[in-house]
Symmetry: C2
Subunit: 336 residues, 2 copies
């Protein structure tokens, strides 16, 4: 199996991206197609021992920057690493594509080059969220700032398939994020979306609150891309600030410093459970191909793990399973 | 100065509420009017040494339960502790009112009995959010699940006044919560709300992201009541789960246990900074009176602190200042 990787995208590209590819090829035993400026990629590859690894390069002379307009970048740069990589996926040259680049540009190009899965009106970006018992999938975290009610039910379907196929989660509980657990709670979007969950093949458990996410009351938490994005970034910020406050307090005084040093491995284990790098990539669900968008700040480790989950999505047949279940209900949940 | 307290509202009423009143009267040197069933209040008061404290009782024979419909409860129970307490505030018998009861019922009754401040289309619930440098005010956290664009600018005005008058925050920075910092980001509501911030007298700093809240990039973070409620409850959940994970990890092994014991005071200091009980009550801003809604799970300490912040809002003249500034712009930010 081959996975294509956008070598030019991300705050730490190309160095960390290529390093992640090398680690990924070694650890996951698959072929990685490095998409980017050939000369740049070759220089980076030369820093590593790639003996025996399945790494190839596909030249893409153009680069989309992080702040470029998604639609304009796609029109202007048909030879960007994003467009070339997604072209390989469309032509079945590779089984998946990973980019840590401009997420809007990746979404726009994926929609154009891969197309939507039939029955899915809008692709959505999902992310794995650490919880007390393990993890859940939050969907959408930014692809659609404004949603129509049926989209949310379709997000629930896609998230449910992903949790099943990639993490082996049996009969995932799908919750609708709201401002209260009672059926009467919700904004207009949530209230109008709720009936649509009855017509999709998911284990719908009703409304969940913000607090229920970290406690893991649902395996899939569905929300619009605005609320999901706020929730995701807020969580990142709270985690960072909390550890910073703890570090400040724990290093006041010599006794504290000694005790804190003794506890470093325990802290590391907790941080690791909360680390976005463990899952590396946010799957873009609803397009005709296994495509993941990694965090802009991705390290080599994050890229390596993004390659792993993208491979799992491809091997698990996530796209085909979404297409099959969404196909059964075309018409039933379509928007107004 | 007198503050009225709903003794019957909250998961731990009446015991913890009366205990909070006793502590508050002692510590804050003010008169507290306990509103509730006289016989119940008398039994609870008898458990405490109230010698020399200014505590009085106003009988309110009816109780609104936590799950009752707000509008129906108000129509059916004109002698509830919520309605009687707010009546005292309307009649200027007291300077403020605190309830840990059914928040929907308090909001409905406050709107009816106190009325809206002229120029403010919708009251909003605000809450103090701990940040790395100190604290910010998140508004709205649940009063309005769906908002029109001008409401958000009015929330910014009210939050700004509150941070100035209660916490002495100079020229508070007001941010609009969005899914990205760039002006182009936001859902439709945020995009349409942004221009309205130009016509209110606040120090508007533009969009802020979820991550910016704990980092304290704004003193007032404005959002609709749906997103704000999700953000608030998510934060509570993350804090609780993180400390639970840390506790589990830190008590594995004897060395860890000893080290963790040495660090207990440091942990306590961090938890205290993040503790909702420190501010106790969420001010309901936009009604004609200083009214706070305390957390349903409020302890005596939370109630004591809610009394303190409600008194500060009353003494600081928050209602008059909002009325004055909103009066200047009536028409300018009114909705469509």
């Amino acid at each position: 199996m081959k996975i294509a990787l956008d070598v030019m995208g991300g705050d730490r590209a190309p160095g960390e991206i290529v390093a992640g590819a090398v680690e990924g090829a070694r650890e996951h035993k698959l072929e990685i197609v490095l998409v980017g400026r050939r000369s740049v990629v070759e220089v980076e590859l030369a820093r590593h021992d790639t003996n025996g690894l399945a790494l190839s390069i596909v030249d893409a002379p153009e680069v989309v920057s992080m702040n470029e307009s998604p639609a304009a970048s796609f029109r202007a740069k048909r030879n960007s690493s994003i467009a070339v990589g997604l072209g390989l996926l469309r032509d079945r040259e590779v089984a998946g594509f990973v980019s840590a680049g401009n997420s809007g540009a990746v979404m726009a190009a994926a929609l154009f080059l891969l197309g939507r899965i039939k029955g899915i009106e809008r692709p959505a970006l999902a992310t794995v969220f650490p919880t007390l018992p393990g993890k859940c999938l939050l969907i959408d975290v930014g692809a659609n700032a404004d949603c129509k009610p049926p989209y949310l039910a379709q997000f629930g379907l896609m998230g449910s398939v992903y949790m099943e196929k990639v993490f082996g989660c049996h009969h995932p509980k799908v919750g609708l994020l709201s401002n209260g657990e009672e059926d009467s709670k919700g904004n207009l979007l949530v209230q109008e979306a709720r009936p649509f969950f009855q017509s999709v093949p998911v284990n719908f458990v009703g409304n969940v609150e913000g607090k229920d996410i970290p406690y893991g009351l649902a395996d899939v938490v569905v929300t619009d891309g605005f609320t999901g994005n706020v929730a995701l970034k807020l969580s990142e910020g709270i985690g960072e600030v909390l550890f910073q406050l703890l570090r400040e307090e724990l290093t006041k005084g010599l006794l504290s410093q000694a005790a804190a040093a003794a506890l470093r491995p325990a802290f590391r284990r907790v941080r690791q459970r909360l680390d976005y790098q463990e899952y590396g990539g946010a799957p873009l669900l609803g397009v005709e191909g296994a495509c993941s968008i990694a965090h802009g700040r991705s390290s080599a480790k994050a890229i390596k793990n993004a390659i792993r989950v993208t491979r799992q999505a491809a091997e698990g047949g996530v796209v085909a399973a979404i297409a099959e279940r969404a196909g059964r209900l075309v018409g039933a949940t379509r928007g107004t």
